[in-house]
Each structure stands twice: as C-alpha cells, then as structure tokens.
C-alpha cells in the first residue's frame, strides 16, 4: 500500500495529506465486487466507503474512535444515513465518480444545511479545476484533485468568480438581499406594482 503523502487543497491552500481513499474495485468481467462486509481495511488513515463502514462499524470502532477512519459517500447514497453518526468522523468525503455526475453537490448541500456537518467536507474522485468553484459554494472545503492533474493549477478554480447571484452554503444570502441594486437612471420607474 502506497503510504506516501498526497497533495490536496484544503481551504484555499495546497497541503500534504496522509489520508488514503479505499475503493471496492468495480466489477470487471463478472468478477465479484469486493464485499464490504469482508474486505479488510489496511493499517493507516483511510477514508472508507460508507457501505463498508456501516457493516463493519464494530470491527472498526477502535480505529474510528482513534480518528483514523473516515467515510466517503457515493453519489447514489443518501447522506441522511449518517444522521446520528456524524460526530464519529474526523472528515467526510463525497465521491464524484465522473465530473459530470452532479449528485455530490446536493449531497454536500444537504450535509451542511440539513445535517449540520461542520467538519471537513472533502471532494474525492473525478475532481477537476473547473468544478471547484461550485464545490466550494455547496460546502466543500477540501479537494482531492484527480492525481493526473496539477493541484496548484486547480487551486485557481476557487477564484473564478467574485460575485454570485444565488444563496448556497458559502453565502447564505442571495445577491438581492446583500446589495442595493439601484436602477440605472434612464430606466423609467413610476409604473405598475406587483
């Protein structure tokens, strides 16, 4: 198992990180998927599939308590499953199996707003520069950029825009409540009401 440190974005900085993401291999040519109930989590700090953690929570309880086990939520899983369990984890990750699969944005939003998760929320999987701005808006604060891409370059994606119209997790107040937006002088505004 490769234990070298990864570079990830945390907040708005590139930092070293010693978490590894454990994935149960996808079924290939009829070979079975690793069974979440029996796969064993190697030593070290691991972000494991939510499904694995749920069935192995007894086995992993000591390591979870020691802060070396976190979970990642797949895009077709519901974050509500973690409702009363959140305080067990040092971080929660959400997986983007493809950067075009946008379910992770709603999962993050719900984790932050509905479930009240305030700890680290990390995007893992197919995470690329051009998605980071939106990811930060829905509540992510850590990004494990796809390993073939330059993480320093990706950092720039967090600053693509300096204003946004709508509210989300990062900015709870929409533009229209934040700023006075007076009409340009030439617009005639003595007309009808609502």
């Amino acid at each position: 198992m490769n234990m070298s440190k990864n570079l990830i974005i945390k907040g708005r900085e590139v930092v070293e990180d010693d978490w590894q993401v454990l994935r149960l291999a996808e079924p290939v040519d009829g070979a079975p998927v690793h069974d979440p109930a029996t796969v064993s989590v190697p030593a070290g700090k691991f972000i494991v599939p939510l499904s694995l953690w749920l069935v192995q929570r007894e086995v992993l309880s000591a390591r979870t308590a020691a802060g070396e086990i976190a979970v990642w939520i797949a895009s077709d899983e519901r974050p509500e499953t973690l409702k009363d369990l959140l305080d067990q984890f040092p971080l929660i990750a959400v997986d983007f199996p493809k950067f075009t699969d946008g379910r992770g944005y709603s999962i993050a939003y719900n984790l932050r707003t509905r479930l009240g998760w305030t700890g680290e929320l990390r995007a893992v999987g197919d995470v690329l520069r051009d998605q980071l701005f939106s990811m930060q808006r829905v509540g992510f604060d850590a990004y494990s950029v796809r390993s073939d891409r330059d993480v320093h370059d990706a950092l720039k994606g967090l600053s693509d825009f300096s204003e946004t119209y709508q509210a989300s997790v990062d900015q709870k107040v929409p533009l229209f409540r934040r700023h006075a937006r007076p009409l340009p002088a030439e617009v005639n505004n003595d007309g009808a009401g609502i």
């Binding site: 950067f99 075009t100 699969d101 946008g102 379910r103 944005y105 709603s106 999962i107 939003y109 707003t113 509905r114 690329l128 051009d130 998605q131 701005f133 939106s134 990811m135 808006r137 829905v138 370059d153 693509d160 825009f161 300096s162 204003e163 946004t164 119209y165 709508q166 509210a167 989300s168 709870k172 107040v173 929409p174 533009l175 229209f176 409540r177 700023h179 937006r181 007076p182 009409l183 340009p184 617009v187 005639n188 505004n189 003595d190 007309g191 009808a192 009401g193 609502i194």
Partner: protein, 564 residues
C-alpha cells in the same frame, strides 16, 4: 427591458475570463476533449457536422436593437453572414472557430449578452411569451419573473451537472404562447381569489424520444416562493433523476416513474426547509425588477382601421391579417417579421436583415425586438398609423411574407445539413413544402396550421406538437420521414399521432397535400386543421394518404445540397 448593473457585468466578465482560459487549456491540451465538452456546452458551443456552432442566450426572447446589431456584426466577422433564430428564442451561429469564441463573448458582453447555459445539463435559458407586456389577454407580465429566474439559475452551484438539460418556460397570459406544457418546468402566472399573484406550477413536460405533457404539481404558488420551490424541484431531480441512461434522464421520466403524487410529496418535503428562507423573494426585489419592464412612453392614440385606409391594397390587407397582432394600448399593434420566406431556411436571417430589423426597431418600436419560438421576430410596439410604411420597408427586405400561423410559417430544425445527430435532412423538406404551397390564397384558405419538422427524435423542431409533425428517421441507412397529426402547443397541448409508415423525401410534398385535402373535405366551417384532426382522429387521414402510391415527383428536392 432589463439592463445590467455592476454585478451582472462583473459576473459576465469573469465568465469570459474563465472560459477564455478553458479554451486556452483545451488548445494547449491541458484539458482533454472529454473534459472540455461539458465546459464548452455550458457556454453554448456545440460541435456540429462541419464546424463549431455557438448558441447565444436571448433571455426570454427580448432584444434591444443594439443587441440585434451585434448579431449582425458577429455574423459578418466570425460567421458566414447569417444566423439562425431557434425554437428556444435564442440565436445560433453555425460556422464559428473555437479560437474566436472568447472574442465573440467579449463582443457580446459589450451589449449585455452572453452564451451562459444555452446548452449542457444545466438550467437553460427561460423562455416566455413573445407578446409579453403588450398582449391584451395578459394577466401579468411574465418577464420580471423570467429575469429573476435567469439570475438565480446562472451558475447555480448545485445544479451545474444535472442528469440532463433543464428547460423552464413561463406564461403570463390567458392564452399560452410559451408552450409551457412541453417544458421541464412550465409556469403560468395566475391570480387567486384574493387577487394575489402566484404560479400554477407544472413539471415533467418535454419532447425528445418520449414526449410527455407536463403535470400540474401545484395549483397556486405565491410569487414569493418562486425560487425556493424551483430549488426544491431541482434538488429532487438532481438526486433522483436517472443517470444510467441518457434517454431516460429527463425529469419527465422521474415524474412518470414516481407518479405525480409521490413526486409532489418529495418536492414538498424538500421545500419545508427552504420555504421562507433567504431565497424567498421580497416585494422590494420583485418591484425593482418589474421597474425594468415598464411600458414604453406610448402616445395617447385611438385605434384606427389601417386596412380600410389603404382600401384595395390586398397585399397589405393580407399582411395585416396575418402578421399584425392586437395590442393592449389603443393605436398600437405588434408586428411579426416573417423569417419564413420561401427558399430561406426557417429562422435564418442575414447580417443585412439583422441590421435592418434593428433599424426598424429603433424607428418604429422603441428600439426593442422579440424572438418567437416559431422562429420569427416581433416588433411589439408599432403605431398603427406607421404600419403601411413599415410594411413597405419590411417587404423590400424579404421580411414581410404574410404567412404567420400559416403552412409556410413552419418550424424546422437545422437537421442533417448541419446537425451531427440528425437522421435525415429537414431543411430541404421545409423548402420543398414551401415551394409547393407557395400560393398564398391557398394557404389563407387552409388557415392556421402548424407544420413542425425535426431531423431526428430529439425534436428540436417541435414535431410532436405540430398540427402536422414531420420527423426524420433512418431506415437501413437512408433518410425517411414519419408523419404525425393532431399535435398542439398552448392551452390544449397534445402530442401528435403517427399516421403510418414513413415516406421518402420526394414524397413529402404530396403527403402534405393529401393531408390537406382530407381536411378541406371534412372540415366544418371555421374549424382549424388542429381541431379537425382532433375530432376525426388519424383514420380518415391515414386512409387517404396511403390509398394510392405516391410518386416521387421531380427527382430532386428543392434546396437539396444547398446548405453545406
């Protein structure tokens, strides 16, 4: 109309910088084509059969003359001298270079325009009634609500990678001229008994492979909750819409699978946490946006009988009857400039025509124009006394064909001549039918009819809701056309029914002719083709069309091979 303030300008400017860099990275191979595709699509850039095509947003179809002039400039500088107005009230340029697209966006931004979210799996440009603000049957002007939705949906961080495209249409009048029933969300402004404004909220309509008429999920949603309720719908869709099969990914499939009741229950459950939250619209905000849409400075005029004033001028009378629409302000009228001249692809306009339309808008209509989803352009505020002068000018520029609502005012997608998804050409079919039925007296006798043509099942040409719908299909590698009748948009929206086996291109004009013959034989006085087809059903049409073989006349279709 709406005007950008510093925030709109800032966001569009930052978007151009972001997109310019994305193009740079693509050209430098720092982005793969697969990674670039969703990024360019969210900026309306498609790869077509021959070249890139750029789709530019015209929010709810409303244009200032300087914006129309900018289209002319883009057509000349970056394209081949013309553009194509679409059923989504946008405009497309078919021959742009990737390298130049950031510069096009910079030019567009100088007149408060962009190409944001005109494509891709995000919330698209909201469409609306082209007669908004002037229609006599209007309950309330839908444009401010469309504008509020535009801003809210622009770069919505949670909904940038939906299962599929998402289209919203809004109508504020008694008659639905925005085809709301065939949109992912269709809104109608209504007043409740207390006189308060709200929306009848429909969801789950759409065309494409599985055409479905939308379902009402709320009879009355107070206007304050427009954004929060839409957000709830979007979140349910984002999480539960199918992603395993692109053809089953639209919200209509989710809604059908869950049933309206269960779908609505989930939306309402999602809404509980959002209701009355920060995105709840305030009176101040709504009034601010409404203030942008104040009526122009109309003169105090009386209605006049312009046709009588030009007694004996049949051509003018025809044009007034077809292309001039009533207006709620006495002494004014709305004028439709027809982009359906025989021999021209429906919706196409040259740079010269665009400049000219901008000119007309400045001189006759307070500098504004609207794009209709039937692919025409409207001047909404013309003084009746100016109609004759306007007509003469428009005629000289090929924009006064008196065919609005008639057979040759057909909707047609670019089809196989441009589109890489096409199964068959559509423009030559449109051209051949136009040519065959060019006779205006005959067209006037047929009356209102919607002929809609799509080159494939994606239904960009709205064929499902045409009185006559033509769909290009592929049979063993050759191009065929399937015909349906009885479709309708608007208040009585319906999906057309297929009449039988498909036809070759060369048979199509005769097929249309036979359908019309049945109608002429069977119709009651004043009965439209649509009503007649609804009443009779497919059987008599089918019987007559297939009764005798249809010769492939002519050997070559008009317009064939012309659009490469």
């Amino acid at each position: 109309m709406y005007q950008y303030d510093q925030y709109d300008h800032l966001i569009v400017r930052e978007r151009i910088a972001q997109y310019r860099d994305q193009v740079r990275r693509r050209l430098a191979d720092e982005l793969t084509e697969a990674e670039f595709v969703p990024l360019r699509l969210q900026n309306g850039l498609y790869m077509q059969r021959h070249a890139y095509m750029l789709r530019i947003a015209v929010p709810y179809g409303l244009l200032a003359s300087k914006q129309m002039r900018m289209f002319a400039h883009i057509a000349r500088k970056y394209d081949r001298g013309y553009g194509h107005f679409t059923t989504r009230q946008n405009i497309q340029f078919n021959w742009v270079e990737l390298e130049q697209t950031p510069d096009i966006l910079t030019d567009l931004a100088s007149v408060e325009m962009h190409a944001i979210q005109t494509s891709g799996n995000c919330i698209r440009n909201t469409t609306s009634d082209p007669y908004a603000g002037v229609a006599a049957d209007e309950i309330i002007d839908p444009r401010p609500y469309a504008e509020v939705l535009r801003q809210w949906s622009t770069f919505h961080p949670e909904f940038i990678a939906l299962p599929r495209k998402f289209k919203v249409a809004i109508n504020g009048a008694v008659e639905d001229r925005a085809a709301i029933a065939i949109h992912d969300i269709g809104l109608t402004v209504v007043r409740n008994e207390a006189g308060e404004i709200g929306f009848k909220f429909m969801a789950g309509g759409g065309m494409g492979r599985t055409p479905i008429i939308g379902s009402v999920i709320r009879d009355f949603l107070p206007w304050q909750h427009l954004l929060t309720y839409t957000e709830a719908v979007m979140r349910v869709y984002n999480q539960h819409g199918r992603r395993d099969n692109k053809y089953k990914a639209r919200i209509k499939i989710l809604l059908k699978a869950l049933g309206v009741e269960e779908f609505t229950r989930q939306v309402e459950a999602e809404w509980v946490d959002l209701k009355d939250g920060p995105e709840t619209l305030t009176i101040e905000e709504m009034q601010r946006v409404i203030d942008y849409f104040q009526p122009p400075a109309y003169k105090q005029l009386d209605d006049s009988d312009v046709v009588a004033a030009q007694a004996g001028n049949k051509a003018f009378a025809n044009w007034v009857n077809r292309n001039v629409k009533p207006h709620k302000q006495p002494g004014y009228a709305a004028v439709v400039l027809s982009l359906k001249k025989t021999g021209v692809p429906p919706g196409d306009a040259t740079a010269e025509q665009m400049d000219f339309m901008a000119d007309l808008a400045d001189r006759y209509s307070f500098g504004e124009l609207r794009v209709t989803h039937e692919q025409n352009v409207v001047l909404a505020d013309v003084e009746q006394s100016q109609l004759f002068a306007l007509w003469q000018e428009a005629k000289a520029h090929g924009l006064a064909t008196p065919n609005i609502g008639l057979l040759t005012d057909m909707i047609c997608c670019p089809g196989g001549d441009f589109c890489s998804l096409a199964n068959a050409k559509s423009l030559p079919i449109a051209a051949a039918i136009s040519e065959r039925f060019d006779n205006l007296d005959f067209q006037h006798d047929i009356g209102e009819i919607e002929l809609n043509i799509s080159g494939c099942i994606n239904a960009c040409g709205h064929h499902h809701v045409g009185s006559i719908g033509v769909l290009g299909v592929d049979k063993d590698g050759s191009e065929w056309y399937q015909v349906s009748i009885g479709g309708a948009q608007g208040n009585n929206a319906a999906i057309g029914k297929i009449i039988g086996p498909s036809f070759s291109a060369l048979q199509m004009p005769e097929v249309i002719d036979r359908l019309l013959k049945v109608y002429l034989r069977e119709r009651f006085e004043d009965e439209s083709f649509a009503d007649c087809a609804q009443r009779l059903g497919v059987a008599p049409f089918k019987e007559f069309v297939y009764a005798t073989p249809i010769a492939e006349k002519g050997g070559r279709l008009v317009g064939e091979d012309e659009y490469v």
